[in-house]
Amino acid sequence: MLLRKVSQSSALCGSILRIPAGLSRGQRHAGAVVAVQNPRLYASQAAEAVLEKTAAVGSNTAAKVEKTISTESKSYAVNIFKGQIETAQVFPYPSALNEEQEQFLRELVGPVDKFFLEVNDAAKNDALEKVEDDTMQGLKEMGAFGLQVPSDLGGLGLSNTQYARLVEIVGTYDLGVGITLGAHQSIGFKGILLFGNPAQKEKYLPKLATAETIAAFCLTEPASGSDAASIKTTAVQSSCGKFFTLNGSKIWISNGGLAEIFTVFAKTPMKDPKTGEMKDKISAFVVERSFGGVTSGPPEKKMGIKASNTAEVYFDNVRVPADCLLGELGEGFKVAMNILNNGRFGMAAALSGTMKGVINKAVDHAANRTQFGNKIHNYGVIQEKVARMAMLQYVTESMAYMISGNMDSGAKEFQIEAAISKIFASEAAWTVTDECVQVMGGMGYMKDTGLERVMRDLRIFRIFEGTNDILRLFVALNGFQNAGNQLKSLQKALKNPIGNAGMLAGEIAKRAKRKAGLSTGLTLQGTVHPELAQSGELTAKAIEQFGGVTEELLLKHGKKIIDEQFVLSRVADCAIDLYAMVVVLSRASRALSEGSASAQHEKMLCETWCVEAHERILRDIKSLRSSQSRQLYKNMRAISAAVVENGGVVAPPALGF
């Protein structure tokens, strides 16, 4: 979404980056001082490019950008782009529940689990393409619709970690119900929780907590999916200022057909205070169906999560009172991004539950099925599948609770980690479920086994709430932005080289060592448990290399890195693997320190994961540096252009006809 706007921005299109002849990579080693001097041109431009981009769309990151310039980031993901290890939010593994919260959570887990085991019928919900009425009523009475609403407004007031634990149970049994609940509270009315004023909270939250009214999040339009900033729904303020007139249509809105309360994003024309000209900026509104003019279409027929209602929602001259504005006028994009960012950890939590459920089915089969005279779990191929499934689930669960723990402890910077967890969880769950079907063979393909429904339910998770492709670009660009800022401050230091001689000498030496393949002293020793020292070193080395390659890429591409999607998605893959390595190191370290019964098993999961992740990262880094990859990207660009122009495959039929 952010990207297309950038390439349209004339401010950036016009400026082409020129790399002076002297700055080819071979020279960098010897001319280290030269290398450091030149960042002034490229890095600052790169940083500015990203900054301009964010300013151009008036987005949430604008606020965050100010923060990252002025304060050091505590986010691990942000720092790896600078080749630094910031352990504040990742070691030790967060335990964000006090005794009372833990005790309360334990009491909640039983009844919720029991309800889903005995009352909810996922297969029935899927067949009916709605949540059964009795189940829906039971969920409402159970309080499942208001888990994070403050208790004085009728909800359970759960923290993010407590919410994650319950959502994990829902994910284990029924993702369709999970989306119905999530669309309502994780995004539907989250805006009111995060940005509502006291009057709005008092007015809406009590009925939303009991699900007397259901909520929906309305952002996507026919012509605006990933490119959310391009929405066309309008909300024009009346001359008296007392109301807005809302016009437009939204598609694929979860709970769209059921909701009474809609969080709607629309373009509001407003006067730019600096220039005085009228601009269209996005604002967020709480819209009630009872305002009149709000209609919804029939339920969409989907591949999966059939129990969840998805519908088009139309706004025809809807009169929205001015006090229904959510947040500030023109700040709607920030509201939208914050809502999505805030709810992302829930997806990782739910999917880690889903994976547990399907793995149980597969393992039960593998332990009992005999072929060729042995139970099939004795065969290497099956063993590898089961091991990989276990690792993927372990990483996902570790990410989910690390992020929820960070959020509960007051961390403000977690957007990259949250995006990583969404990408990882959705892809891991798909792979794991697919492999479970494979382990079960023909049985896995049969409806009664329940796995095919889970596969169909899972497919959407890589698409909605930010497609994984966009989120990868987000992870890479967000990381580059911060790394670019550091190079920018280096540039500032260069203006006074004598005063900053010490610091500059250190920076130069660091880069020289890195280039020569020597360690720059980056280590996790003393942070991870001694038994995991080796995996810790693999991680530290990988971060070192990663920091090196990101700097090279910034220097090489500058501003234009925004358009280098082949590069960006590989950079993101490295970042994802680096975060995955550190979360399992953290969790396994905790298990070993506590001497828990499963500590050795967790150590094995961690070590195996880290070795393979390290290999992947180095391979990606090599590819990012190689000229052959550049040729491959060029080829792929050309292939794609030809196929698109031809409206289909270009090569003539193998048989000639």
Partner: protein, 254 residues
């Protein structure tokens, strides 16, 4: 009438758990094993709460005997609608040997102390299957008893109880105060809703010791050994009836 009902709730190993005998054959493994409220006790609590909702009685008090964890079971009863709880603290070896006779003495003492109008228990616990506590308590109190109840209705100061017995159903009318034990079909226990669990946190659980009630809990029974049921041996298929008769004669069965 005080309008107060006492409900006994027992913390047992969850019905879905696979039971394992300890290696020293002294009992079953309980450490780290999932526990929950005895299903018949859930039915008893549900009945008491229903009576309160129909305004036949005023207060439901949940009682459990055992170690610290028994409080979790009382909390579940509170989440289902009980008003307050009493935790009778019995720990260690005393808890291992605690049986129906001791528990019934405790319940009898509490029923008198709390001036209870009714005492409702589950018909039996799924761990020991004794089916004795209700009957013993009634005898100690010299109260009438309505056991294996599948239907209960209060009519003035009498109770009509439909009992499930071997021959079918038996309807009796007994005076209050009385002891009732709940059978499977008495009702379907409600699911504890999350808001109710939250409200239950504020309800009180009083702590007492058996000595405070003047009860001696020494056991008159000693468990010598606990064994798993013998492994079921594979059967043998026979072709004809004559073969069957021959095999049965062979094994000495006939």
């Amino acid at each position: 009438m005080s309008g107060r009902v006492l409900v006994g709730v027992k913390r047992v190993i969850d019905y879905a758990v696979k039971i394992r005998v300890k290696p020293d054959n002294s009992g079953v493994v309980t450490d780290g094993v999932k526990h929950s409220m005895n299903p018949f006790c859930e039915i008893a609590v549900e009945e008491a709460v229903k009576l309160k909702e129909k305004k036949f009685i005023k207060e439901v008090v949940a009682v459990s005997c055992g170690p610290q964890q028994a409080q979790e079971t009382i909390r579940t009863a509170l989440a289902m609608g009980a008003d307050r709880g009493i935790h009778v603290e019995v720990t260690g070896k005393d808890y291992d040997t605690l049986g129906p006779l001791q528990v019934s003495k405790i319940f009898a003492a509490l029923a008198k102390k709390e001036d209870a109008q009714l005492l409702i228990l589950g018909k039996q616990a799924i761990d020991d299957d004794c089916n004795q506590t209700g009957q013993m308590t009634a005898a100690l109190l010299d109260w009438p008893q309505g056991t294996f109840a599948s239907e209960v209705s209060l009519e003035g100061d009498k109770i009509k109880v439909v009992r499930e017995i071997d021959g079918g159903l038996e309807t009796i009318k007994i005076n209050t105060p009385a002891v009732l034990t709940a059978d499977l079909r008495l009702n379907t226990p409600r699911y504890a809703t999350l808001p109710n669990i939250m409200k239950a946190k504020k309800k009180k659980i009083a702590q007492v010791k058996p000595a405070d009630l003047g009860v001696d809990i020494t056991s008159r029974l000693e468990v010598l050994r606990v064994d798993e049921p013998p492994q079921r041996l594979a059967g043998v298929t026979v072709e004809t009836v004559d073969d069957l008769v021959a095999k049965l004669k062979e094994s000495g069965t006939i």
